[in-house]
Amino acid sequence: MLLARKFPAGATGERLLWTLASLTTLVALWAISAQLAGSRHFPGPGKVLEVIGQEAASGALWDNMSITLVRVACAFLLAMFIGTVIGILIGTYKRADQFFDSWLVLFLNLPALVIIALSYVWLGTTELTAILAVAVNKIPNVAVQMREGARQLSRDLAEMAAVYGFGPWKTLRHVTLPQLAPFAAAAARSGLALVWKIVLVVEALGGHATGVGHQIHAAFGNYDVPTILAYALAFIVVIQIVEFGILQPLQARVMRWRR
């Protein structure tokens, strides 16, 4: 978005053309390398597309993707909410920041795998475990970004709100949250990228019987590379649709007041 703002509006078409050319080149390179390799462990784009078609026709693709998407959505929303609350608190109160900073550093550096493993040991294989394990991985990032936003809150506007008797709820809704929106947007976009990747790992490790992660894990057991790539590719497309269809328009809407 930041980058896009630097381009004049007329360049959108040109940019699209470049993206298209770049993707075409990538697919072509893939096809040629696969041809040269001639291995069943390195299928070309045609083969992967064929598997996507088969999985879609059997309904397995949609079933697994939808269950994974629900997990992504739950973990994402949970992480955003808890991370935002923590971030605002530690960004606003200096004492809280001093106290919790070391906790934050600890959780930021805790490997995802450790959080996932411990979650399953302590909570067992349930739907909630999967969602919690993913959310805990993401919460520290959201908190750090929101803390930065809270630190930059305008004192001028806070004074204005006090003078004009805004009260806590009105101040939160019309003064504080709009200032945090750019930080929330950044956290959301980096969050989505992180969350969907971790969800797949959790699905694979947690022994869930459904989801894209489970499918990829099962395919891995058979060295079935076409299926692995088919699910990966399909899911990338879906996540990009969420990014361009929901997150970016939402960000543009929140920022529409800017000059």
Binding site: D156, E159, V163, Y164, F166, K170, H174, R259
Partner: protein, 251 residues
């Protein structure tokens, strides 16, 4: 015209014994205000003036209750008089339109909200009603800030250099607007400015502060009728009398 309380009320009593800024980086503790005491009679237009650093904005913040770290006492009068502050920068919410900014400055469902559109028209912002502040000029933003202040129908109106960093014609237009709004609804005003012309043109009384003494060094009543204030010659004469007479202060 907004209803005006028929009781002229009691004055605003300002008593600041001592206001300091803490010592930073080897510098001594800085005494900004010392023994500042004055009363502002109801519906008078008092201008606080002096060079930058004389503590005039600090004094206004104390009166507004935004700065509570001082020795002394501020008595706004009985009951809880309605007080409004118009800041040095417009301080509009950039993510809300001009109209939304005015509506939000009043409690939800407040009868004064029905005056918002009229006020927007009065300050000449009808075209910009639904514009976001940052998409309008600074002059328009200052008009909106003025409108937001007056829509409160305040008993006490505090203004901290609300017309700085505007070009002369725009600042002049805004001063006329302020005089017009104030005449149709006189209220007790404390107005901070470093601009002597502005002080004489607007004020009924001028208090001068000086950084050295951290106190009021001159207290002058402006002897101008409303019509005199549009007369350049009379304004200049009054300016000279207040700011250049030998007994008027030692700045």
């Amino acid at each position: 015209m907004a209803p005006v309380n028929s009781d002229p009320g009691t004055p605003v009593r300002v008593r600041v014994k001592r206001k300091t800024f803490p010592a930073i980086g080897g510098r001594d503790e800085n005494i900004v205000l010392r023994d500042v005491a004055f009363d502002v009679s109801p519906r008078s237009f008092v201008v606080l003036t002096g060079p930058s650093g004389c503590g005039k904005s600090t004094l206004l913040n104390i009166v507004a209750g935004l700065d509570k770290d001082y020795e002394g006492e501020i008595d706004l009068g009985p009951g809880s008089p309605r007080m409004t502050f118009i800041f040095q920068t417009p301080r509009l919410l950039p993510w809300r339109t001009i109209r939304e900014n005015l509506m939000l400055s009043l409690p939800d469902g407040d009868p004064r909200q029905s005056n918002v559109d009229g006020m927007i028209e009065r300050v000449g912002l009808t075209e910009a009603t639904h514009a976001y502040p940052e998409r309008t000029s600074l002059g328009m933003q200052r008009r909106a800030a003025l409108a937001r202040g007056f829509i409160q129908e305040p008993d006490i109106l505090l203004m901290d250099e609300p017309f700085v960093s505007l070009d002369d014609p725009t600042a002049h237009g805004l001063r006329e607007l302020l005089v017009d709004l104030w005449n149709s609804r006189p209220t007790t005003v404390m107005f901070v400015t470093h601009d002597r012309n502005e002080a004489v043109m607007l004020g009924t009384r001028i208090l001068r502060l000086a950084p050295g003494s951290a106190s009021i060094v001159a207290d002058e009543t402006v002897r101008l009728s409303p019509s005199d204030r549009t007369d350049r010659g009379k304004l200049q004469a009054e300016l000279a009398r207040i700011f250049e007479s030998p007994d008027a202060g030692h700045s």
